[in-house]
């Protein structure tokens, strides 16, 4: 398999390059953990005051938060470099990717690694493991399997939106504000049970901006609260599949749009 081998080769090079600045490593990981810890502390403060949010207690919210954060970390670890897509395309670094026998997207994603992503992933996984123990879930092997698939699916949902937004760069030249907005929506709305935002926002965050598929829908059915959903339960169980479909569509969109690449200077 050439694809995965090349990916590992380039990702390895990015890691080696990052280790040239060794001091950065721990500061970055700790920074990532700290940033996410602040978010969790905020929710804990809210719950401490009100006891419940939309009928969800601390255990349930922590489980949702853990799923969302793990999915986020799982996407950001390989996908972080998309944040630099503006400069890569405007300054013509993308030229270089096009004259090598490797997918340009793979080269873009492996141009560097950001080690604080490891903090996101480690923090998310730790929280998910702890919260899973206290969450009201019947942990059958099937449920564990679904949880893992759902987390991967959630990473794909977030990744697909970021990839599709990044693809616009070939025509629009500057897409970081759009991508920043997407990131804000994920981190501001992703950690709460969606139903507290009301039916309109709930509909929009499911079918227009598919945030619900990242964690809310799969977490709800895992905790056997399916009856409180505004959508059929089978759709919630299908969340991992939605992630795959969206990522495939986003990748095709990226491929199409990249034909409009204009390089820099003529």
């Amino acid at each position: 398999m050439r694809g995965p081998r090349v990916y590992l080769l380039l990702a390895g090079a990015a890691f080696r390059a990052e280790f040239q600045y060794r001091g950065n490593l721990f500061i970055n990981i700790i920074g990532g953990l700290f940033y996410q810890g602040v978010g969790l502390a905020f929710i804990w403060a809210v719950l401490d005051r009100f006891g419940q949010v939309g009928g969800w207690g601390l255990g349930e919210i922590a489980f949702l938060y853990g799923m969302r954060l793990t999915a986020h970390g799982l996407w950001v670890l390989p996908g972080h470099q998309l944040i630099h897509v503006d400069e890569v395309v405007i300054e013509g670094e993308y030229d270089r990717y096009l004259v090598r026998p490797v997918s340009p997207l793979v080269q873009l994603l492996t141009r560097r690694v950001r080690l604080s992503s490891l903090g996101d992933l480690a923090g998310g996984s730790a929280l998910l493991v702890i919260a899973s123990a206290s969450a009201p879930v019947d942990w059958s092997p099937g449920a564990v399997c679904f949880l893992l698939l759902a987390v991967v699916g959630g990473a794909l949902v977030e990744g697909s939106l970021q990839l599709a937004a990044s693809a616009l760069v070939f025509r629009m030249k500057r897409v970081s504000p759009i991508k920043f907005a997407i990131d804000m929506i994920f981190s501001d709305f992703g950690n709460y049970p969606l139903k507290i935002f009301g039916p309109v926002a709930g509909f929009a965050l499911t079918f227009v901006f598919p945030l619900a598929f990242v964690a809310y829908l799969p977490a709800t059915v895992l905790m056997d609260r399916g009856e409180e959903l505004a959508v059929p339960e089978w759709l919630a169980w299908g969340a991992p599949g939605i992630g795959v479909v969206l990522m495939y569509a986003a990748y095709r969109f990226w491929e199409r749009q990249s034909r409009y690449y204009e390089s820099s200077g003529h």
Binding site: P101, Y261, H266
Partner: protein, 323 residues
């Protein structure tokens, strides 16, 4: 056998028309009006295997745009490009294995890793057998003298060292075609010479086809037999370097160090300085030997030389004429 075929190649860049007045930014975003700039306007040429071609033109003439279409970086608006049987932008990956590309302004190496690592990574990306890779690395280390900085991170290399590293990286997998975009820009004389020697040698021993764009016409004069001049997106001249000089600058100059030469038949005095006189003549009508004999017959000459026109001034004249 042609290795590069370019037919009716056109590249247009269109931008939304800049709107003015209130909400200019938003209206620019929404407008359907486009300003179209035609950077390459119907270019045709073919390059034979083993040729070394200088692809020249002033800034903004469409030079880099053509090279970017040849290398598969840009998709043409219309026309066709065939490089070793494939369409570069459509079959990008296959094309990439057959070409080496060196951009003088931008390194292809991994900035934070030692040069040695970059070379190894390239060898893996291009599936070079490891024994072959070691042999190549040894060979390039010798010719390009990479040894002293193989273990230095690329960001710490001097420009000359980096260029040598880039050249080695581009030739590691034995590509049929080498594209050099301003390979000697910013280099000192010795570094320039080293690069030219390497490229010339490569062409002679491996038959590598070389497409060179440069502002340093000494590169072209030393390496290329053929040049393609591009201006306003069109081919202005395509042929041998010598023929270009004959066609656009048919005159030679005879420089004589002598006393009181006023005139001589078949030549025109164009300049005097100190004891030196510059005589311009057309070598077809006045054979140089006859002219020299005529001068020597009438004057005491202490020094004498014949000056070829420089490519630079020839090209300068062509662009000036085309205005």
């Amino acid at each position: 056998m042609p290795v590069i075929e370019v037919a009716d190649l056109v590249k247009e860049f269109s931008r939304p028309k800049q709107q003015e007045g209130a909400f200019a930014g938003i209206r620019t975003l929404l407008t359907r009006e486009q300003t179209v700039k035609r950077a390459v306007d119907g270019v045709n040429f073919t390059v034979q295997r083993g040729e070394m071609v200088g692809y020249l033109g002033p800034n903004g003439a469409g030079k880099s745009t053509t090279i970017k279409m040849l290398t598969g970086i840009l998709v043409p608006t219309s026309g066709t490009v065939t490089v070793a049987g494939t369409t570069p932008w459509r079959d990008r990956s296959r094309n990439a294995r057959r070409i080496g590309v060196v951009f003088g302004q931008r390194s292809q190496l991994w900035w934070d890793l030692p040069l040695r690592d970059s070379l190894w990574l390239i060898s893996r990306l291009y599936d070079v057998p490891q024994a072959r890779f070691r042999e190549k690395q040894r060979q390039f280390s010798e010719v390009l003298d990479l040894g002293p900085f193989l273990d230095t991170p690329v960001r710490q290399l001097s420009l000359g060292q980096r260029m040598r590293g880039d050249l080695a990286a581009a030739m590691l997998y034995d590509p049929d075609i080498l594209y050099l975009d301003e390979p000697t820009v910013g280099l000192d004389v010795i570094a320039k010479e080293r690069i030219r020697t390497f490229v010339g040698e490569l062409n002679r021993t491996s038959g590598t086809t070389v497409i060179l764009t440069t502002h340093d016409l000494d590169d072209v004069e030393e390496l290329c037999d053929r040049i393609i001049l591009i201006d306003h997106g069109k081919v202005a001249y395509d042929g041998a370097v010598d023929e270009l000089k004959t066609r656009y600058a048919p005159h030679r100059e005879l420089v004589v160090q002598t006393d009181g030469l006023e005139s001589v038949e078949g030549a025109e005095v164009v300049r005097r300085e100190g004891g030196k006189v510059w005589l311009r003549f057309d070598p077809v009508r006045t054979p140089p030997a006859d002219l020299v004999a005529a001068v020597l017959a009438q004057h005491r000459v202490t020094d004498l030389s014949i000056v070829e026109p420089e490519l630079e001034s020839v090209i300068h004249r062509i662009y000036a004429d085309r205005g």
